[in-house]
Amino acid sequence: MLLVPRQLLRAGMTGDVPYYGGRLSPAQAYAASHPSARPPGSGRVADTTRAEVGDPRAATSRAVSPTPPTGNQEDVLLSLQHLLGAGVITPEEYTGLRARLGA
């Protein structure tokens, strides 16, 4: 018999577990709002996401471009405001991230 699948909500055993798919987790938002963790002028940054889960690959660092990302600053600000409104980042994190944009 043909079965047309129905969309179901994801849930955990003890209830609805927050899911951060495609968005910043609190830990990632914290890391993003603390740029001082990056060695100044090195152009390399520790993989904080791996470090959070104890992944040994975090010991290595990955190359990043020292060039700030280009893009529409207005869009970035809107995204930040959305993250703030959704409770993904705190007001302090929002202020810090916004300051990095020079806004």
Partner: protein
């Protein structure tokens, strides 16, 4: 009130089932640990179409009916937002069998009620606890945990 119900989707290259898994589930059911609510066998063709398969006769003809009604929807209906979803919530995530079963494969879909978890869930709710994360340890981390336990017991 039912306990937490897990949906376990297990893929098979060919839809042949030995019954060994069911034997284990039956054993856990007798011990009051879990209850196999229903079991559905499905196949997915290369064009993505999902079809239910007849359960082995020894398992009973009524098997799969509940799962089909729960996981499927009448043909031709639109994929509505899941029941209970808060339209204002940005954290709603959904899934369907189409996400789980790759084209060109077959799967067994088990609805398993965790009887043991009912008192725990109630206790958490009474204590005002709210779930923040719930996942399973990866095999490597289980091995690491076993090692830690062994070292501690020496």
């Amino acid at each position: 009130m039912m306990g937490p119900v897990q949906i376990l989707v297990v893929g098979f290259e060919r839809p042949t089932f030995s019954g060994e898994v069911l034997t284990q589930l039956a054993r856990l059911g007798e011990a009051g640990v879990v209850r196999l609510v229903d079991l559905l066998l499905v196949s997915r063709s290369h064009d993505g179409t999902l079809e239910t398969l007849a359960a082995p006769t020894q398992l009973g003809a009524e098997l799969g009916g509940l799962a089909t009604a729960l996981l499927g929807q009448p043909e031709g209906t639109a994929g509505d937002r899941p029941a209970g979803a808060d339209p204002e919530s940005a954290e709603v995530t959904t899934w369907s069998l189409a996400d789980a079963v790759p084209p060109g494969s077959a799967a067994a879909v088990a609805l398993i009620e965790h009887l043991w978890a009912t008192p725990l869930r109630s206790a958490i709710q009474r204590a005002g606890g709210r779930p923040l994360e719930e996942t399973w340890l990866a095999p490597n981390d289980v091995a690491r945990l076993e090692d830690l336990i062994t070292r501690r017991s020496i």
